[in-house]
């Protein structure tokens, strides 16, 4: 196991050396090999670092969609990775599509932003801790005699109950995102979304490389995707799940 670990760490540093030398192609290859081998051993944070470096190398290669994919995967593992956030935003500047989604209410987008600050695991653990705190506060309320303590525990109980619920919901929604893999990135340079899962379908709208889409339904080699307010069918081979 140690030898394998050694290989992984060597791959990472080799990739960094390639990157420093400006050999993007080899850097990408090395990072990808590193990721293929590491899944079991590296911590989430470390794996996120490899994805971050891969994203940089991809960006230098000019592979916009692949670099966005790598940054997104990095942020899945480590949502508070500042540099990945910055570079992802930078890469997204280059996407042609400007998606206006007037369906989401500002509170919803705000809630989504909060949700994406932590991983599913963290939210789950937080929710459980809050739940236990709530139970403790309820017991305290029932058992103690001093009025102030009873009042305090009563307030703590309802607040923690609410917070536990919110964090639990966050965890559930992140879990469904991660397991169902609904989000994907357009990898094809220019892509026309069709009205039906068929080559001859009417062209509905045009998507450009790097745009994030939400997969609603999959039918054979076609996927029904939603982008902003638009929905259309695109080939699965033209997009890649995060």
């Amino acid at each position: 196991m140690t030898s394998l670990l050694f290989i992984i760490l060597t791959l990472f540093t080799t990739g960094n050396d390639y990157y420093a030398a400006g050999d993007w192609d080899n850097a990408v290859q090395t990072y990808e090999q590193c990721l293929a081998d590491t899944t079991a051993f590296l911590t989430d944070d470390s794996q996120a670092e490899v994805y971050y470096n891969l994203g940089n190398a991809r960006f230098r290669q000019g592979e916009l969609s692949q670099s966005i994919l790598a940054y997104e995967r990095c942020l899945r593992l480590q949502p508070r990775h500042k540099d990945a956030q910055y570079n992802l935003a930078f890469a997204k500047e280059r996407i042609v599509d400007d998606i206006a989604d007037n369906r989401t209410f500002f509170i919803a987008s705000w809630a989504a932003a909060v949700r994406n600050k932590l991983t599913c695991r963290t939210w789950t653990i937080l929710s459980i801790c809050l739940f236990i705190t709530m139970l403790t506060a309820m017991l305290l309320f029932a058992l103690v005699k001093p009025i102030w303590l009873r009042k305090l525990s009563f307030h703590v109980a309802w607040i923690t109950m609410l917070l536990s619920l919110i964090t639990g919901l966050n965890a559930i929604s992140l879990n469904s995102r991660d397991t169902k893999q609904k989000e994907a990135i357009v990898t094809q340079g220019v892509l026309n979304a069709k009205a039906s899962p068929d080559k001859s379908g009417t062209d509905l709208f045009t998507l450009h490389e790097g745009t994030k889409v939400e997969i609603q339904e999959v039918l054979g080699e076609w996927a029904n995707v939603r982008v902003g307010n638009n929905e259309g069918w695109v080939k699965l081979s033209h997009i890649e799940r995060i």
Binding site: S46, V96, R121, I125, V190
Partner: protein, 611 residues
Amino acid sequence: MSNIRFSLFLCVLAFSFALKAEDVSFRAQAPSQVIAGKPFQLSYTVNKKARDLQAPDFSDFDYIAGPYQSQSSSSSFVNGKMSHSFTLTFTYTLMGKAEGTFTIQPATIRVDGETYTSNGVKITVLPADEPPVQSNSRSSQSASSSSQGGENISTENIFVRTIVTKTKVYEQEALLLTYKLYFAGVDVAQFTNNTRLPEFTGFLKQEIEQTEVQAELEHYNGRNYQSAVLYRTLLYPQHGGEIKIDPASFEAVLRVQVRQPIRSVFDDFFGSYTNVTKTIVAPAVTIQAQSLPAGKPSSFSGGVGQYTLSGNISSTEVKANEAVTIKLTIQGTGNLKLLKTPAIDWPEGFEAYDPKVNNQFKTTTAGMSGTKTIEYLAIPRSAGEYTVPAVSFSYFDTQSGTYKTESVGPWTLHIARSATDDKQETTVQNYTNKEDIRQLGTDIRYIHTQDLTYAAQAPRRTLSATTVRLCYLLPLLLAIVLFVVFRHQIRENADIVRVRYKKANKVAQKRLKEARQCMSKSDAAAFYEAIERAAWTYLSDRLSIPTAELNKENIASILRTKNVSEELIKEVVDVLSTAEFARYAPQAGQTMQELLDRTANLIDQLENQKL
């Protein structure tokens, strides 16, 4: 004299040397059209001294005379260089027997011991002239003419025919119009510039260039004429219906013999001919143009005729920003000039340029034919797999009378990433709509190079669903167990404070009821005790003060903190002290009824207060 002879000898010598250097040419010559019953000459020419001419069989013709031999030689100085030519001609006189086209087989001749063969000759024998028609009936095709000169120039002797290849054509289908001059027995010296051609309204005109006018014999309406093509043009009707081509007029200068008394031999030789100008009118003609039938395909190009379409693509595997060229070639016969260029529907992300058209047309009597080459250039701006749809080209086939569609493609293109190292180049194009938020001089942040941390064991990426459920259920169960275990204490806790508070009024009312009963029994001691207890218990419950701490001062201060009015506090203290006092020293002044009312009133008022 001897000097001249010598030079002559030298000349001949040089001549014979020169001859050796040249190639032997042996050719047969005869008019291509002859009239039956009229003699003509067939000559064989050789450029060297020759003998043993073996003439072919003249069985198709009447042999009249020959061969007459004649020879000529010449020498010339050009730029100081002397050149010689020598010709030996054998001439036969023959006569056509019957109408038709005949071939005279090649002849052979021997030059310096070698045998040479001449070319064969094709001769068309036209029928002999019919005796002149006396009546005035003229063919509709022959033109009426206004005679300006000699009366012997009749329309039978000279006229222009309007010849069209077809009178029923489709719209846009080519037809050939020829103005042809016929003359016999007159001498045409020249044509003046005073030629008036019709406007050809309703047609697109494509003239056929003529190099030189050559007269040839032609048998027409029973007579043999010298004929010459004056003007030829291809016409493309531009609309359906009857289209009339107006008459054309030509002006010819004829040489006419002047009838005047012959005064001398030289008169006849020099002065008996004069030039006469004559206008010849070619008749009008009407063309029936048929409109193209309904059901034009959407890709109809306007083409009428016969076409084939072929196309090729420069490459199907290119890199982004590298040009792709599709070359279409339309080949055929018809109204090539009016063909619309087919459009190529390039996929999104391709920058298409205006097509480059190269026409190579040839106008012949059969119509316009040639090729139209169209080059479409497009530059893919982003990578991926794209399909260029098939290009269709439709035309109207005049032979079958139907629309035909030809198509090439589709082509599938694999566009690879641009080879250029500079990543900006591929994306710089895509900035346009976000220019205002682009940050200049910024770049992505650098990679992280610190060592990776790793776990000895595979970290759990996600918590399993059962773990999560257990994490919720176990504390919940524990809590429920604790609730059950401590349920007595919980109930007690709840009773002491809450229930007593809620039941305070009820208890007080009960006490007041006892006091009323005591009053009716006139038991003063019991009555005051009941009143006192009612007041104390109520205040104790209501204010959650333990009985041990009950005293008037305590109550007053607590009531004050709860914002109870000073008046009410005073009344509470008053009632309490009255009841206490009366219990031990009953007063006559204060009736039992009065105290009961005051206490009930007080409890009512306190009940309404928020405590």
